[in-house]
């Protein structure tokens, strides 16, 4: 494969986030949240909004670039891209696509973003979340187009298999069967995220510390996942601004350069994927490391998509931080906490900061390399951001300062 020529040619120059609230408590509409996060990211970059000429999104974001341009008075949208697939699998891919648009010369300043107000639309944690509307009793499941939801729908809903938690619980149960992974090991991921959130006043779980015993005592949602294995359900929006490395030099923030970005994943449907006890990142990680020319050991800090604790473990394995099946032991003993060998999810992540389909993790990765995280890894130079596990597509990018 010809390598994508983005390394060192694109920088993230602005970041923006709305307030994060529990679902249903946002003061603005989802569209208003999107506009707010974009304006904040552009201001952070030292740009004016009319300089923005591109957008990149994922997960069928409802807030389309043309509507945003009209609302914010943007004269020309020269580039807009969407990553298919639900949830956070496309979160890193959106950043990669933004970079591709810049390198190709389609646009100069591209905003990648995600807005999600589950209080105003369907909840991803409930049946029908993928379609954006609640399913009512007795409603018939439409088939037709071979999409993520329909390929699961008629062959999973009638069996009571309706939520991401349940699907991923089955992948993780298999991981436990094959490798002896335990609930306490998954709990270590939740504890690390919650610990990091205690430094972050933006985090929805700020001021609410948690122990491994709290995790073990939380109720079962979909065995083996307990309540504290599952991410938050929140409202909010987050955005980053990308531009060429050349233009980045004239802007006020310390540029954070993209070393590489990869997206994809093999056939994935109705539990027939080859790599079942996996985050589905193996092929993406191979492409990513080849692009970057570095190895996992070169990474100082990582932001790993954490919709469910177990799939942080599989994502770490897939990216090569440890061997397949060794992820459970890897996350124990504080290794992934601040001060450990590989601190992850230093803002609290989807588990304890906010669930904006992983875009808070992208923003936090940039903060780490600017040196402005509330849970700063000293002298962090290289950060991995992984988007969405155990779905397709999944995506990852690596940034450096």
């Amino acid at each position: 494969m010809d390598q994508l020529k983005i390394a060192d040619r694109v920088a993230i120059v602005g970041i923006g986030e709305t307030e994060y609230t529990r679902w249903g408590r946002a003061a603005k509409s989802e569209f208003g949240l999107a506009c707010e996060a974009i304006l904040k990211a552009v201001a952070d970059a030292g740009l004016t909004i009319d300089q923005v000429d591109g957008f990149a999104g994922y997960s069928a974001d409802r807030n389309d670039p043309i509507a945003i341009a009209a609302a914010l008075g943007i004269p020309q949208v020269r580039y807009a891209s969407m990553v298919w697939g639900g949830g956070g699998g496309g979160s890193a891919a959106a950043v990669g696509n933004a970079a591709a648009g810049i390198v190709a010369g389609y646009a100069n300043y591209v905003v990648a973003f995600r807005a999600l107000a589950q209080g105003q639309f369907g909840r991803f944690g409930q049946a029908g979340g993928y379609s954006g509307k609640g399913r009512t009793a007795g409603e018939r499941i439409p088939g037709g187009a071979f999409t993520y939801s329909s390929m699961h729908g008629p062959f999973s809903y009638p069996f009571g298999l309706m939520t991401p938690a349940q699907h991923l619980a089955m992948y993780m149960r298999r991981h436990m069967h094959l490798y002896g992974t335990t609930s306490r090991q998954m709990g270590a991921v939740a504890v690390a995220a919650r610990k990091h959130a205690q430094y972050n006043t933006r985090a929805v779980m700020y001021g609410r510390p948690m122990t491994i015993e709290d995790h073990q005592n939380s109720r079962l949602i979909a065995d083996p996942f307990r309540l504290l294995d599952c991410c938050l359900e929140t409202d909010g929006a987050a955005a980053v601004v990308l531009t060429s490395a050349e233009r980045a030099r004239d802007l006020p923030q310390r540029p954070v350069y993209l070393m590489g970005a990869a997206q994809g994943g093999p056939q994935f449907g109705a539990h027939n994927q080859e790599h079942y006890a996996s985050g589905n990142f193996r092929e993406v990680a191979r492409d990513l490391w080849a692009q970057c020319g570095i190895q996992p050991k070169d990474v100082d800090v990582a932001q790993i998509y954490d919709h469910f604790t177990g799939h942080v473990i599989t994502s770490l394995e897939d990216h090569g931080f440890c061997g397949l099946g060794e992820g459970g032991a890897f996350v124990e003993g504080g290794r992934i906490e601040i001060g450990g060998e590989l601190p992850i999810n230093t803002s609290g992540g989807n588990l304890s900061e906010a669930y904006v389909h992983g875009f808070g993790l992208a923003v936090e990765g940039v903060r780490q390399l600017r040196g402005t995280s509330t849970c700063q890894v000293p002298d962090a130079e290289i950060c991995l951001v992984a988007g969405g596990a155990a779905s397709a597509p999944v995506s990852s990018f690596v940034i450096r300062r």
Binding site: A137, R140, I141, P154, F155, Y157, F159
Partner: protein, 140 residues
């Protein structure tokens, strides 16, 4: 007697999967199989992933398989299931269809804990006039 209370979402057969649901209605478990190269595939789709042939058959299988993975649902994902938790969702591997996997429920009343690798056989749940679901129970 249906496994779940009335009001669960019902499949609506499409051009691509109607044959599978029709076989289920006859209490015959089938897996879509390429008429060109013989590859099995599930869920139903119009073309073979291996040889790209659009020709296929609905291959009857024995209805015996193994539990590949499972979850016990404790939190109801749908209003109809509010008083119907916990229940067990399984992924069944079908050895006589090249280990294609099927999502279903484990509906036996044995107290023994569910284990990956246990052998199961199909039983039928008549849900609606045109919809029967293949469910599974463990073999003794």
């Amino acid at each position: 007697m249906p496994y779940f209370p009335p009001g669960m979402p019902l499949p609506q057969p499409t051009q691509d999967d109607a044959g599978w649901w029709e076989a289920c209605r006859r209490h015959e478990l089938t897996i879509q199989r390429c008429a060109g190269c013989g590859a099995f595939r599930h869920t139903p789709r119009p073309v073979c992933f291996a040889c790209r042939s659009f020709e296929f058959i609905w291959q009857p299988v024995s209805g015996r398989g193994r539990i590949f993975s499972y979850t016990v649902a404790h939190h109801p994902p749908h209003p109809v299931l509010r008083d119907r938790v916990p229940y067990t969702v399984i992924v069944v591997e079908l050895p006589d269809a090249d280990n294609v996997r099927l999502i279903s429920n484990l509906v036996d009343d044995r107290d023994a804990p569910v284990e990956i690798g246990q052998e199961v056989e199909v039983v039928w749940d008549d849900l609606a006039e045109n919809i029967s679901l293949p469910l599974f129970r463990r073999l003794p």
